[in-house]
């Protein structure tokens, strides 16, 4: 299959997801669009008032809301990507078998896996655009920074979606997904620097936090938002997240191939 034909097949899978999303988008409005804004309002503005009072110099020199917002952006990207790569993948392979239907056409399991990943990226981008617009409206960032933060949010989404969809495809039921959210995603959400600088953590936990993918995403996003990006660190952040996309996608080729074409 030529490169162009492969790309076209992958885009057909994305098209399918968009087609279904047109019918079902209202079901996920709250989690994708409203939740992050509510976090920003409640914690950034509400809790932020207390934080800023006791901390006149600000956190890293800015108000709590400005510190928090870039963290929420990528943490939401993680949440959306994780959700998009778990239950819908289980549905496509086992519950509704829509993926099984797709590969009866010229599409194959790898097109399905790649298209699924890209669609998770689209979903993250949609949420990211809305959230960045709110940030700009709140004065939490500028337009030029926002234009750089959007690709970071998308990369973050892809970095989580790729290995998680590979994992999801290998499962026989959805029970492991609850554990994934509870024991992996939630702790990362709380402790990887989204809400407070990880320098507040004990030394050992700081090391753990730095090892998590979300910390690398927060580091990039916040670095851009606050104009304090360290190029050397940024390269490490980007490499880490990109490696997750590549390794995750190759892993999902294996699991999608095995589940769909055994």
């Amino acid at each position: 299959m030529s490169g162009r034909a492969t790309l076209r097949s992958i885009l057909r899978v994305v098209e399918h997801h968009a087609f279904v999303y047109r019918r079902t988008w209202h079901g996920s409005v709250f989690s994708t669009f409203l939740n992050p804004v509510l976090y920003l309002a409640a914690l950034g503005v509400g809790l932020g008032a207390f934080v800023d009072q006791s901390n006149p110099a600000g956190i890293e020199g800015v108000t709590y809301a400005m510190f928090l917002a870039p963290g929420i952006l990528v943490a939401s990207a993680m949440n959306t990507a994780t959700f998009e790569s778990t239950y819908p993948v289980m549905a496509g392979i086992r519950w509704l078998k829509t993926y099984v239907g797709m590969i009866l056409s010229p599409l194959n399991a790898r097109h399905v896996a790649t298209g699924q990943l890209l669609w998770a990226g689209v979903r993250v981008a949609l949420g990211g655009v809305i959230f960045l617009a709110v940030m700009i409206a709140f004065g939490a960032t500028g337009i030029s920074q926002a234009l750089l933060m959007l690709p970071v949010a998308i990369l973050t989404g892809l970095a989580f979606a790729a290995p998680i969809q590979a994992f999801a495809a290998a499962q026989t039921n959805d029970a492991p997904f609850a554990s994934l959210f509870r024991f992996v995603i939630m702790p990362m959400f709380i402790f990887s620097g989204t809400f407070f600088p990880i320098s507040q953590l004990p030394d050992l936990l700081q090391l753990v936090a730095v090892a998590t993918p979300l910390w690398h995403a927060v580091s990039l996003s916040r670095g851009i938002a606050l104009g304090m990006l360290d190029p050397a660190v940024a390269v490490i952040n980007l490499t880490y997240l990109s490696a997750m996309v590549v390794v995750g996608l190759l892993w999902s080729y294996r699991t999608f191939d095995r589940k769909l074409t055994e």
Binding site: V100, L104, P106, L107, N108, T261
Partner: protein
């Protein structure tokens, strides 16, 4: 038979599928000619679905050779699938989408334009008699309607050959007859049909030629009529006795019984003269509770070949 046989659409030689230690398909050989309706008849677990999945290029061949439309599924899967229609055993429809939308998005996988998709979808929706449901969501449709929609979907790319894996399993008799009638129309239009079934009436209705599969192997091949002539008698006398106890029939049949099969609830007596046999036995004092003479069927062929029934 034409004098210059066309190249077969499917050619299988020692075709084998293994899952670990388990052999699902064991060195089967068959050809399917253009325009014929070809069936795989056998009980659940005989290897029919595994064979179909290999033909449909969604399951790799373990050993042997398989050619589909003159191509090799190992290397040309995508090109082969472009020209096939597939109705899998379980429906794989998009439940959130409407009948029309299901067909449109499926047509897109074959690179049809939206306009083409819409035109073909409307024709096919009429063909499978779902016209009134065109804008209904799929989820609440009946099993028979979903099955017909899946058949319509398999026709979106105007395939030369359709693979149907148990097209009417789970449907009520009326829904089955509607599906059969539509498949018969397709056959008349020259579409090659390949189907699996464990219903002998389905095989007899639809198949020009079939293979009987059991335990991963092909145990017989021919037209339904040939198979019945070769492996069974013309007629069958079915007798049921009180308390399900069959008396001794030896020497009372006037030599009319060719063969017999004792089933849990009745005995099948294979003969060319059912009525006469019944009368002869009655004259000898045999008093069944019920007695029925019928023509031999593929079920009898299967029973003869494997010692078991198709649907347990």
């Amino acid at each position: 038979m034409s004098t210059t046989p066309a190249a077969p659409l499917i050619r299988a030689r020692e075709l084998t599928k293994r899952f670990g230690d388990f052999t699902a398909v064991d060195a089967v050989e068959f050809d399917v000619q253009p325009g014929e309706a070809f069936g795989f008849l056998g009980p659940n677990g005989a290897g029919k679905t595994s064979t179909m999945r290999m033909i449909g290029c969604v399951s790799p061949v373990t050993a042997g050779t398989l050619e589909v439309l003159g191509m090799d599924p190992r290397t040309d899967g995508s090109a082969i699938r472009r020209r096939l229609g597939v109705v899998p055993q379980a429906d794989t429809l998009d439940m959130e989408l409407t009948v029309m939308e299901n067909l449109i998005i499926y047509g897109r996988y074959f690179d049809l334009s939206y306009r083409e998709c819409r035109t073909r979808a409307q024709e096919l929706i009429d063909f499978v008699q779902l016209t009134e449901k065109v804008d209904s969501q799929v989820e609440p449709l009946s099993g028979g309607m979903k099955r017909r929609l899946t058949i319509a979907r398999s026709l979106m790319n105007e395939p030369e050959m359709i693979l149907l894996d148990e097209p009417t399993t789970g449907l009520d008799p009326q829904a089955r007859h509607l599906v059969w009638e539509r498949l018969y129309q397709l056959k008349k239009q020259g579409v090659t049909l390949i189907l699996t079934t464990h219903y002998m009436d389905e095989a007899e209705q639809l198949c020009d030629r079939l293979v009987v599969m059991d335990k991963a192997q092909i145990v017989a091949e021919g037209t339904p009529r040939e198979l019945i002539e070769r492996y069974s008698s013309r007629e069958v006398l079915e007798l049921r006795f009180e308390d399900l106890v069959t008396p001794r029939l030896d020497g009372k049949d006037g030599g009319l019984i060719e063969r017999s099969e004792q089933l849990p609830d009745r005995i099948l007596l294979y003969t060319d003269h059912g009525e006469e046999l019944g009368e002869t036995l009655y004259a000898e004092g045999v008093r069944p509770v019920t007695s029925l003479v019928r023509r031999s069927s593929l079920e009898d062929v299967f029973l003869r070949l494997t010692g078991r029934r198709l649907v347990e």
